[in-house]
Symmetry: C2
Subunit: 131 residues, 2 copies
């Protein structure tokens, strides 16, 4: 069913109505990272893609040297980071768009004193498994 999740967040700490917070303990190789699932199959019935918001605190990073069969579409929403993609390395900031190809090693490392926040879209994993 079509749904709206209203924004109820603040600068550098985004939040939406009807959306839970998952704080990672670092066992996945991330540091100071949390996630809010915005559009999912389980809740919204979305069969094709998943919308996730990640927040990473200063000094932290996404999962180190992450690599998998699904791709990522990323839109940086707040803060700055260093992005490592295979052998490339570059800086990214608000509203930059990054596409991470399947099986590319990727790592987002916070730069500066502000939390990093980004939208990260992935395909529905059931869909991937069916191919």
């Amino acid at each position: 069913m079509s749904t709206i999740h209203r924004f109820i967040g603040e600068k550098n700490d985004f939040n939406w109505e009807g959306v839970d917070l998952t704080v990672f303990d670092g066992s996945d190789g991330s540091k100071y990272a949390s996630r809010r699932l915005l559009i999912t199959e389980e809740r919204e019935g979305a069969k094709n893609f998943v919308f996730r918001y990640f927040k990473v605190l200063p000094g932290g990073s996404s999962t180190m040297f992450d690599k998998h069969a699904h791709d990522h579409g990323v839109l940086i929403l707040h803060g700055h980071c260093k992005v490592k993609l295979n052998d490339q390395e570059f800086h990214a900031g608000p509203m930059d768009v990054i596409y991470v190809t399947p099986n590319d090693v990727h790592h987002f490392i916070v730069e500066g004193d502000e939390p990093l926040g980004f939208l990260c879209v992935i395909p529905n994993k059931k869909l991937l498994a069916s191919r």
Copy 2:
């Protein structure tokens, strides 16, 4: 190949390096609308989803009573709108997230004096056709 499109836009007029503008003439039922394709299969090789930025000027709207087999994941980036979804009607603004289910009639109508800008993600249509 993994790609970054750096943000080179301004307030209420977003733009990215390496991304073209398509201005719609209204023959699709939209009014004062334009689009920038951010992540595509043709350019980035993205097989699962497409990232698009739409800008609609004050007084304008997305395609009227649009309805189709693919779903939309929407993140409002700037401006305000009225959203019509089947028989529902509500207001949306910056950072609100909207999921539009397949085959739901939808129409985004700009409210106020600022251009509306939103990210709209759709599944890759080849992927949909293959199911």
